[in-house]
């Protein structure tokens, strides 16, 4: 197990470098110029050149990237070109918002999806069809539309939750929870559908195995057969799906944070990309890469806990 974790961590270094490099190159290809955005149309050629020199924008992309890496290895993620705020501060102030949203959505999707999947695997064909249809609908509904619909119904019409905004946990745990309900539900819907389907399919396959028949014949209670034996042995596929779903929620968070005006990383990355705020974009890309690495690591650890063969290999 320790070997797996160590290998994962070592492999993460080149992974982060690759993500960082690709992001830097892609950002440099986006049309626009941060110096032009900052100075507007009134700038003299001298002002424009001076600002581009100050921001190192006149240097080749490779050289800019190398300079960026040098600073990162010194622990300096740079400062926002537009707000002059340290990127580390941008990330640390917004990360809790995004994590609250993503982890919350993952928990909801995992719990609800697993329950639905187990339910449909142990019921008749009708319940399976219902889960199939729900999966299709859940995947087909655009997250943007779902978010606006939830806001219109539960925030505007019923007044149960705020339509936009975020309150930190330290400010008020209740308001924090309230501000996350609609965004979490909007983000989780697609994940519920997928997890339910994967759980259902894995459970159906497991419930067909001989040892399950043996357990039943031995008098083991149905509840124990399903929850303690079948689900556990179906959980490898489930854990993988939950891990991948959580990673996909990072992308979904960009849309949801914009609709609900949550001050998270997804919200700022859109602005930063359009404005060519390269240090901020890079900082967020690195953060997302680290989150993906951590999620994959947790999935591997879960594998080891669930499957003794993985632990001992």
């Amino acid at each position: 197990m320790l070997r797996i974790i160590t290998r994962r961590l070592l492999l993460s270094v080149p992974l982060v470098l690759v993500v960082s490099g690709i992001t830097f190159v892609l950002e440099s290809l986006v049309p626009g110029d941060p110096a032009r955005s900052l100075l507007g149309v009134n700038a003299t050629p001298q002002q424009y050149t001076a600002l581009r020199d100050a921001l190192h924008l006149n240097e080749p992309v490779i050289q800019q990237y190398w300079l960026y890496l040098e600073n990162v290895f010194r622990g300096n993620l740079g400062t926002s070109i537009f707000t002059d705020q340290p990127v580390s501060q941008v990330v640390t102030s917004r990360l809790p918002v995004t994590l609250s949203l993503v982890i919350g959505a993952t928990v909801v999707a995992a719990v609800v999806g697993t329950l639905l999947g187990v339910y449909s695997a142990t019921r008749g064909r009708l319940s399976r069809r219902v889960v199939d249809v729900l999966s299709l609908v859940g995947n087909a509904l655009p997250g943007f539309w779902v978010a606006l619909a939830l806001s219109a119904i539960f925030a505007v019409n019923l007044g149960w939750f705020p339509a936009t905004g975020y309150t930190s946990f330290t400010q008020s745990p209740q308001a924090w929870l309230s501000s996350l309900v609609l965004p979490v539900v909007a983000l989780a819907i697609g994940g519920v559908a997928l997890i339910a389907k994967v759980t259902r399919d894995a459970m159906l396959a497991t419930l067909q195995l001989d040892y399950i028949r043996t357990l039943r014949a031995s008098g083991v209670s149905p509840r124990s057969v399903i929850w303690r034996h079948a689900l556990r042995n179906s959980s490898l596929a489930l854990v993988t799906t939950i891990g991948l779903t959580m990673i996909s929620f990072l992308a979904g968070a960009v849309i949801i944070e914009n609709v609900f005006d949550l001050p998270g990383l997804g919200n700022i990355v859109v602005t930063a990309t359009n404005e060519h705020d390269i240090p901020v974009v890079q900082g967020i890309a690195l953060t997302f890469a680290v989150i993906v690495i951590v999620v994959n690591l947790l999935v591997d650890i879960a594998y080891g806990l669930l499957n003794p063969k993985v632990r001992s290999s």
């Binding site: 049309p31 626009g32 110029d33 941060p34 110096a35 032009r36 955005s37 900052l38 100075l39 507007g40 149309v41 009134n42 700038a43 537009f82 707000t83 002059d84 705020q85 909801v108 719990v111 609800v112 187990v118 339910y119 142990t122 606006l148 806001s151 219109a152 925030a155 505007v156 007044g159 149960w160 939750f161 705020p162 339509a163 936009t164 905004g165 309150t167 209740q174 308001a175 929870l177 309230s178 501000s179 309900v181 979490v184 539900v185 209670s221 149905p222 509840r223 929850w227 914009n258 609709v259 609900f260 005006d261 001050p263 919200n267 700022i268 859109v270 602005t271 359009n274 404005e275 060519h276």
Partner: protein
Amino acid sequence: MKSQVTLRRTAVLGLAIAAALPLTACAGSHGSANGGSQSDTITMSMPSAPISLNPSTSATGLYINYITPAYASLLDEGQNGQIIAGLADKWGYVGSDNEAFQLTLRTGLKWADGAPITATDVVASLEYFAKGSGPSSPYLHGMTFTAQGAGTVVIKSPSPDPMIPDLLTPYYLAGAIISPAGLKNPASLANSTDGAGPYVYDAAQSVPNDQYVYTPDKYYYDQAAIHFKSITVKVIPDYDSALEALKSGQIDFMPGNLDVASAVQGSSSVTVLSAPTLWAGLYLLDRDGTVVPALKDPRVRQALNFAINRQAITSAVYGKYGTPLSQPAVPGTDGYSSGAENVYTYDPAKARQLLAQAGYGKGLTIPVNYGSFDPDNTKLVQAVQAELAQVGVTLQLKADSNFGAWVSDYVSKKFAATILSPGAGGSEFFIADSTFMPGGIMNVFGATDSQLTAAFNALSAASQAQQATAAQQVNDVAVQDALALPVSASSTIVMYSPSLHGEQFLPGGNLTPVTAWTSA
């Protein structure tokens, strides 16, 4: 049977637990995220964050609401468009040539840090604005600023300029003076404030790119003018999300667009206010024929103006929030004349005739760049493209996805025409100076027109009583020589809670800033 019942109970219990947790957050949660809207606070939304909190680089229009709470201006604009006192309570031109302007500060003024405001401070701030690259900077180039005594400032322009007092209002920002403490470290002005406004920027409660909070300044000279315990400007890029927040009472004010304004038509819980403030259309930049030689010929430019059905395009793009417009001046401004609306009726046959006379009967191609980040301008330019194609004129469109890209393309001089997002408005002096005069910020090719220059010089030197006539004469030349291709007067739309008061579009098209509003 028993196992099925047990399983059902377990599943229901699990789902109930998952669902119950959020319900504990319901009670008392409405409007609680980020403070909501109370009678002694105001929360407004803007679709994007400011490029900077530095008033010398800030955008104008509704974006002044990021600036005006913390930066009071030297002068202000009254309900009838007249100049009124601000931090200065005496002002006026010296002599009759509109070249020397003098203002005197109120006594006892203090910066937000408590230091007294002097004429020397004001001079330093104006000089800083003049050297910058913000919207007001070009109008200050070449001016000199002198302090006379403790409270008097003299501004001298190298050429007649009847608009100096307007520059010093909140709507052009040059008068939003910055303290010496701020000027010592200009980089800090990007995310902090050093002004003399009724409020100060509260960095502790603010989150850059998300929300900007302002709390009362105890040193402001007119404490009775401070109407709110705090002003919060939230960045909500999506108009639908902002509308949900307005309807649920989380915000009190938002800029609107055609879609959201139409969605609340007839609603008693949201007030919609609009006024035509900007002319939208094509800036014919290459009037000297550098990239497209045809555009040097006035007959070609006139043909473009005859070729488009302004009524149809305006109706399609702006609905009831637009007016067809044939002149680069908005109704209600000093340059606008109703007679100019009759010069270019929709006449494609005449357009073809003029093009043939100019030698372009087989058509021509005009490269145009525009900001695709502005959906209204995107629809507008595509509609104009379709109409001009009917007379053999091809618009080769380049979409710029962000403002920086639009600026880069604009200054490249590869595009003979452009669309400015969201449009332009204001007095004829500013329109002509920025758009048609050599050196104007929207005249990248430096094109010249001798008739317009003569009319502009007359406007610059005109007395107050002659300003309106002189302004219309400038506009008449711009129309006759077809220096632009206006299509519509688009309205600025704002939406707010009925409990809010004081929002008003002034005659020049500016909306009163948030510092002038009150709450019932």
